[in-house]
Structure formats: structure tokens, C-alpha cells
Amino acid sequence: MKEKEDYFMLNKELVIIGAGPAGLAAAVRAHEKGVSDILILERDDAPGGILNQCIHNGFGLHTFKEELTGPEYAGRFIDKVRELGIEIKLNTMVLDISRDKLITAVNPDDGILEIRAGAVILAMGCRERPRGALNIPGSRCAGIFTAGTAQRLVNIDGYMPGKEVVILGSGDIGLIMARRMTLEGAKVKAVVELMPYSTGLKRNIVQCLDDYGIPLLLSHTITKIGGKKRLESVTISEVDESRRPIAGTEQTIDCDTLLLSVGLLPENELSRICGVELSPVTGGAIVNESLQTSVPGVFACGNVLHVHDLVDNVSAESYLAGETAAAFLRGESSGREILIKTSGGVRYTVPAYVSPSHVTQPLEVRFRVGEVYKNSFVSVYFDGQRETHLKKRILTPGEMEQVLLRPAHFKKHSDCKEISIRVEAD
């Protein structure tokens, strides 16, 4: 029995995958730029994405000039999307995207949905690195969670994952959860960080750890997980400069819970299915100044493109994606003219390609560095000639940086072949 007619077939000008901060901002801006036929597909049962569980404050200083909590920040965008009448399909999982932008998705109400899109914005966000990716030896007992899973358990589901906690990794979610678990009566015994510096924001070290007397152990890692059924202890060791545990430095900490905050990975399985070229450095798509991927009409923004520290930057980037997707739908194309070369500590840039004719306003190029640099400079070279030379007191891998490429630069170097961005000592 074939019930092909049971498929739900749709045509949409713009389909946005993900109703987190990136997808919502992209939708709002695309609508403002004249695209009215928009559909947002969201796998969760509410819009807002991960912000719904980020109940802490500190969001929106750039975007709204005030300090909001995650749900408040998301709420502003959700209200806007509703006001504009943009449709969101919840509980909807995208299963497939073809190169010609045919999307297959599923939800309990519509069943299998097939949507032909004029343009697609990928805004699926990121996921946390699990324990397996670290290959931490030891037992496979209960009590080991990623910090984000613990955050969801506490803030959305209303359950405590443990009482005595050690946190591996000083990423922001780990720091935030150190405070959250403490406020809810748990004892957070230590935050253990492999690197000699924290990968989270400095303000979070102060207000989440220092405020509560939680020790941050830099250059340490977990070398053993103990416990048969539920976690009973972790063994931590100091690491040397090549991040190998130093024998003889082991200490055992009794705990029933280990939270992992050891990095985020862009969630690009769908992008891969679609044939989008991905960067081995970021794990996200390689895009041009319009945030268009290697597949024409497919754009990416937010944490699926590269992991951001601040949601304000996600919103700004996603506004741009909404705008450029709208331009694509009006028939404007964009290509890949000049590759931005990275060297001297710059690990990657977003965008990776620039077409000078598209730079009508200062273009924000975001990047991360590979290690800590003090009192150094971020320089931009056009065909070997230095045009930007910014003094930076400190550059760390934990914090995203940006430089501007200005229309004037491109006017001056009208047949520019190469742009490079690097960190320099002087």
C-alpha cells in the first residue's frame, strides 16, 4: 500500500532550520528585508533553543543595551517572530536536505514533510563534546553528565543530577553550572581545567567560582573515574606543558557527579548530508561574506557555523544571514573571490572568503587564536601591505575576536588578490 499522497508537500521561499537565537534572528531580519514566506523548523517543543535553559543573566548587552536572562533574550525574538506572523513548526526534526534544497522533515502531526525551499539558513547550533571524545579512562558508571545535560535537568526538568560535584573543563556552561548546583544545595568541589588558562569568560570565573569559593585547578585533568554503579570519586593529576598527566601528582576527590564542560562542536550532520563544505578547524561550514556555504542558496549562522561566546554575536551574525538570504532570493548572487589567509596564531576566520564588490559596509571578520598572546597586535594585510594593526592587551583561545574590513581598503587595493590576518608581536 503506497500512500504517497500522504506526504506533506510544501513550497517555501525561505526555510530556517532551528528556532534558537540564530534561527529567530535570521527570520526576523529576512522578513524585514521583504521575505514573507518563511518557515522555521524546530526539533524541540518550544522555540528559543538552548537559551531556555540558560536561566542566568548576562545576555543582550550589545543587542538590547540591557542585561537579560536567556529566556528573556529568547522571548524578545520569539515575540517578534510571532508579531511578524512567521510560522514555526515545533517537534520537527529535519532528516535530509538535498543540494537543490529539498528538505525532508518529520513531526508527529504532519508525518513526513517535504519542503522545497528557495533558500535555506542552517541554524542548528552546536552540541557538547562527550566523555568518549576525551577517552577518559575508568568505569562507565552513572553520574557523568555534560554540563548542558545537567543544566537541562535542573532548569527545565527540575531534577538534581547529584550532590557532590567535580566539573571538568572551565567552559562557560561548566562555570555557570558550578554556581547553579551550589545555589541548589550541591557541593561543587573543584573545576578542573586541562589548559593553563580558563576557556570561559573571566566574569564567570569571578561570579560563579570566586563568589562561592570553588577552586579552579588549571593545568589539571581527570585521569581516572572511580565507582562501579554510581560515580564515587575522580582522580585528578597535574599535566605538563604537552598536557600529559604528571606521575605522582594524583589526588582523589570523592564525588557522586562529574560534569563535563570540555567544548562545543557545531552540529553539522545535516550540512554534511546537503554537501556543504566544512572547515576542519571549526567543524562549521566554510562561508563567504554573505554567510553563504559552498552550496548556493544555503546559508549558515550562529553556533552551527562556529561556536560563539556571546549570544549577541550570534544575533548579529544571524541578522546578516537573514539579510543575505533575502538578497539571494531577490536574485543577487555571491561567490568566493578572495580567500582570507590565516597565519601567526589565527586559527580560522568567518567568513573565509570575501567578494570586494559585496563589501559596502565595514565587514566584521570573526576569528579565534590558538594560544594566549599578551600585548600583541592583530594585523590585516592586503596583498602584503598592512592596513590594520590593532593593539591587543590579551588574546586567548577562549574569546572570539574580530576585525573590520572596510570598503576603503578594497577601494585602495582594487585588484586585491590576497588578504591575510595574523597575530604579530609588534
Binding site: 500500500m1 503506497k2 500512500e3 504517497k4 500522504d6 506526504y7 526539533r43 517537534n91 526534526m93 532528516l95 525532508t104 518529520v106 513531526n107 508527529p108 502531526d109 504532519d110 508525518g111 513526513i112 517535504e114 552540541r127 557538547e128 562527550p130 566523555r131 568518549g132 571524545a133 577517552n135 579512562p137 575508568g138 568505569s139 562507565r140 558508571c141 552513572a142 553520574g143 553528565f145 555534560t146 548542558g148 545535560t149 537541562r152 535537568l153 535542573v154 527545565i156 526538568d157 527540575g158 531534577y159 538534581m160 543530577p161 547529584g162 550532590k163 541548589e184 585521569t223 581516572k224 573515574i225 562501579k228 554503579k229 554510581r230 598527566p245 557522586d256 557527579t257 550532520e269
Partner: protein
């Protein structure tokens, strides 16, 4: 009085139970853990060995040959992921090639067909990613991969549907001889009387044997550590790749699993305890380094988890199968290490036939050999998916996004015979949580479904049985 009590719901105990359910017998399986396949059966290579390596004339040789031949039909009856992918034993030097010839000769004596020595170029045709060091290989056409815990579950479910009773969370504390049989004392204080005991207790088979027989056994737990990679890594090993075997076992292999992941391992280290399934830094490093000899660089960034299993080794280096000499009606099925999984169907058949004769059992007229697995959304095409969602909308709700597992599959896993009651039970039955995010996303959803379906407070849901609770209370 029960006819047969089987101690241990691993692949051996469950295979015997299923084969016994062909007869009109009252059979009970006792398992100390909260689920079937909680021991060695869940943590091994998942290989159906062709059967060339066991010593000719040994029980290992006999049961492996027969078991391997039974698989193609069995996995159809039980709907278990299985693939005859073939295997290679690679040699890294010309001097070692005679060792391959010995294995080939051994295989012939064991009655194994489809064995062939390949030179480097021929081997490369089958497996293009073999390392530069490989000079020749023994090819075994009939080697296969199977999902070991799904096989165990399938055996158990089929046995259950054919009338076998299972008692989980039921460690055996003591066994006494009584007239015409045995009396078992369980940890709950309950007792059971039975005519026959089958000792399929895996790592604890010595303890069970020694409760009854004066001819004691000693199981030596031999640990094997593995690394599991994401699906994307599977093209490295279209066949299972072994290195030349050593006294401790078949060495480190590289294989694709029946579910399409890349698996490398195991180590082989004798350990003291029967619950020492911790992984170690040295072990994992050794596995990765040794596996790289076979296939060159491994994509270490795609490792999603590591695990360790324990082999139930006996000093005799062979299976111990049969009635204890001094205990009538007490059947040992002990020392079942590699090729135990490959041999399981044949051991099940042999033990069931032995007991049927012993008990003069009649065939069970209502025996149904067919077990249906959980329909897998990820393997369906759009039309099938639509049909399933029309019948049951929860097929439209994806709970595990890495492995595309729907809510309907999770509910099926809980409601089916011997259904899942733990997070790991759900994982083994549906693959929810097996993927690259290692349950980061679906744990909270699965906890919710378990709470709802089992009607128990969420704080009491466990990972793998009492003591492994995931939550410590309400916020």
C-alpha cells in the same frame, strides 16, 4: 519443581533457553543484573569467527564451525543485525607468512571453507586502506559481524514468547542437592527447586560450579579494552582485520560493527576482579597504536566512546561444556570466551538436545522460531515512515537525534517482552544514546519516557540497575 534453571542471561544462557523452548519444559532463567546481556555479551568484538583458529578437536573448534554455519538462518528468524563481511588475518613480514599457512591448514582441519591466502595486492582489493606494512593476509569468506547484545535480547525475547520465564535482579546465593535435583537460594531469600541446572554464569561460572561440584573450576577474568568510532569512520575496515594471533588471544582487530561503527580492540590482560571493567589510559593507547599497524592512521577525533569487557578464561583454554562428573543434572557451560559468541547457537542447540534426551522431553507444538525486532525508523524509506506515523504518531517524534530513534521505538523497547527498565536497556534495544553525542541530548527525554511508561519516580530510574540511579532528587 522446575525442569531447568539456567543461571545467567548472557548470550549462552539465552541461546540455551531459546533452544530449550522448542520442548515442553518448564524453564527459568536467573540473572543477577537488571537486564539480559549485562556482562561479557554486551562488551565484545561482535565477530562471528570463521573458525580457523581453534585447535582441531577442541570444543572451541567444534562449536565455532557449527555455530558460524547456523548464523545466516538464525539471524533471519530473530531479526538481528548481521553481515558476512569476511575477515583478513594480516601479516606484516614475509617471515610471518607461514603462520598464515598454519592457520589455513588449521581451518581446513576444522572443516572451514572459503579460506585463502592473499598477497598484498589481492588483500588491498578487498580492503583499500590496509597499511603499507601488510605483505599478505589470510582471507576467510565466512567471517561475519553481528550485534552481540541484540542477539542476546532476541534469543531472550523469543525464549520468553515461547514460555521461558526470566527472573532478573536475582543473584544465586546457594545451591543444595535435593532428591531428584537441586534447590537454589536467591538473594531475595526465595528458593527454587529444579531437576536440572545449567551453569551459564559467565565470569561467575566457577563460583556456581564450586557450590555444587568437588571438581572446582577457576575462571580467570581477562580484560579487553576497545575504542568505538563514529559511523563516518567505517570505510576503513570493510572486512574485519585481525593480526596474527598470540597466546593471549586473537590480538587487536579493526572492524566495522553490525551497526556501522568502527571498532578497534581488544587488549588482553588478566585481572583480579570480575567487575574490573574500567578502561585504562595504557590500554586505550595500546589499542589505538596496535590497530594503526593494520590500517594506518586512525581518525582519533571520531572516537565516540571506549569500553572494556571481561573474557571468562579457563586454564584449559577450551570451553567446559557438559554435566559435572560428580553432580548429575548440573550442566556446566563455562569458560565461554572467544569464539563464544560465534559458538552460541551451536552450544544452545547441543545443550538443549542433551537435556531433552535426559528429560525425555516432548517437542513444544506451539514453538514459534520467529522474533520480530523493533521496527527501526532510521532504516525506513519515506513511504514506510509515513505508514508508521499514520498508525502511531510517536514515530514522528525523534528522541535521539544522532541515531534517529523515535519515541515509538523507545516505548516499544519498554513494552516488549523483557522490556527495558534502564537507560542502558533502552540504549541496547534502540541505539538511543549510542551516537556521537553519547546521550547528551536524549538522556533527559528517555528518563521522562521511562518514568511515564514504568510509572516510577524519575529519581529511581537507573542507568543499569539498582545503585546506578541517575538523579539524586527533585530540585
Amino acid at each position: 519443581m522446575t525442569d531447568v534453571v539456567i543461571i545467567g542471561a548472557g548470550v549462552i544462557g539465552c541461546a540455551i533457553a531459546r533452544e530449550l523452548s522448542r520442548y515442553r519444559l518448564d524453564v527459568i532463567v536467573l540473572e543477577k543484573e537488571a537486564d539480559v546481556a549485562e556482562g561479557t555479551s554486551k562488551a565484545n568484538s561482535g565477530i562471528v569467527h570463521a573458525g580457523y583458529d581453534a585447535t582441531p578437536g577442541s570444543l572451541k573448534a567444534k562449536f565455532n564451525a557449527r555455530g558460524s554455519a547456523m548464523f545466516p538462518n538464525l539471524v533471519k528468524e530473530l531479526e538481528v543485525p548481521y553481515k558476512r563481511n569476511g575477515s583478513l588475518v594480516v601479516s606484516f613480514s614475509e617471515e610471518n607468512v607461514p603462520r598464515l599457512e598454519e592457520l589455513l591448514e588449521n581451518g581446513k582441519q576444522n572443516g572451514i571453507e572459503g579460506l585463502e591466502i592473499l598477497h598484498r595486492e589481492q588483500a588491498l582489493e578487498k580492503c583499500p586502506r590496509l597499511s603499507e606494512k601488510v605483505v599478505a593476509a589470510l582471507y576467510a569468506k565466512t567471517a561475519a559481524i553481528v550485534c552481540p547484545y541484540e542477539l542476546t535480547l532476541a534469543y531472550a525475547e523469543n525464549a520468553f514468547n515461547n514460555g521461558v520465564r526470566f527472573r532478573l535482579n536475582s543473584p544465586v546465593l546457594g545451591i543444595n542437592r535435593i532428591e531428584n535435583g537441586y534447590k537454589l537460594t536467591l538473594s531475595s531469600g526465595d528458593t527454587l527447586e529444579t531437576r536440572i541446572i545449567v551453569n551459564a554464569a559467565g565470569l561467575y561460572a566457577d563460583a556456581i560450579n564450586n557450590m555444587v561440584s568437588a571438581r572446582t573450576l577457576e575462571i580467570i577474568p581477562r580484560k579487553g579494552e576497545y575504542c568505538l568510532f563514529d559511523h563516518a569512520a567505517e570505510e576503513l575496515a570493510p572486512l574485519t582485520i585481525f593480526q596474527t594471533p598470540t597466546a593471549m588471544g586473537k590480538g587487536v582487530l579493526v572492524t566495522t560493527t553490525a551497526d556501522g561503527n568502527l571498532l578497534v580492540g581488544p587488549t588482553a590482560v588478566d585481572v583480579g576482579g570480575r567487575d574490573e571493567t574500567d578502561t585504562s589510559r595504557e590500554g586505550l593507547e595500546y589499542v589505538l597504536k596496535t590497530a594503526a599497524l593494520s590500517v594506518g592512521t586512525l581518525p582519533e577525533r571520531q572516537i565516540i566512546t571506549s569500553f572494556a569487557g571481561l573474557r571468562a578464561h579457563l586454564e584449559t583454554d577450551d570451553f567446559e561444556i557438559g554435566e559435572a562428573p560428580d553432580a548429575e543434572g548440573f550442566i556446566n557451560v563455562a569458560g565461554i570466551e572467544s569464539p563464544g559468541l560465534s559458538s552460541a547457537p551451536a552450544i544452545g542447540e547441543w545443550v538443549a538436545e542433551l537435556l531433552a534426551r535426559k528429560l525425555s522431553a516432548e517437542p513444544n507444538p506451539s514453538f514459534d522460531p520467529i522474533r520480530r525486532g523493533i521496527p527501526k525508523f532510521r532504516e525506513m524509506d519515506s513511504e514506510e515512515r509515513t505508514l508508521f506515523i499514520n498508525k502511531n504518531p510517536s514515530y514522528g517524534r525523534v528522541v535521539c537525534r544522532c541515531e534517529t530513534v523515535t519515541e515509538a521505538e523507545i516505548i516499544d523497547a519498554i513494552r516488549r517482552p523483557l522490556g527495558a527498565t534502564t537507560l542502558d536497556g533502552i540504549k541496547r534495544r534502540t541505539r538511543a544514546g549510542m551516537g556521537r553525542c553519547q546521550s547528551g541530548f536524549c538522556t533527559t527525554r528517555v528518563l521522562e519516557i521511562l518514568e511515564r511508561e514504568l510509572k516510577i519516580p524519575r529519581e529511581t530510574v537507573t542507568k543499569f540497575g539498582k545503585g546506578s540511579e541517575l538523579l539524586t532528587g527533585r530540585r
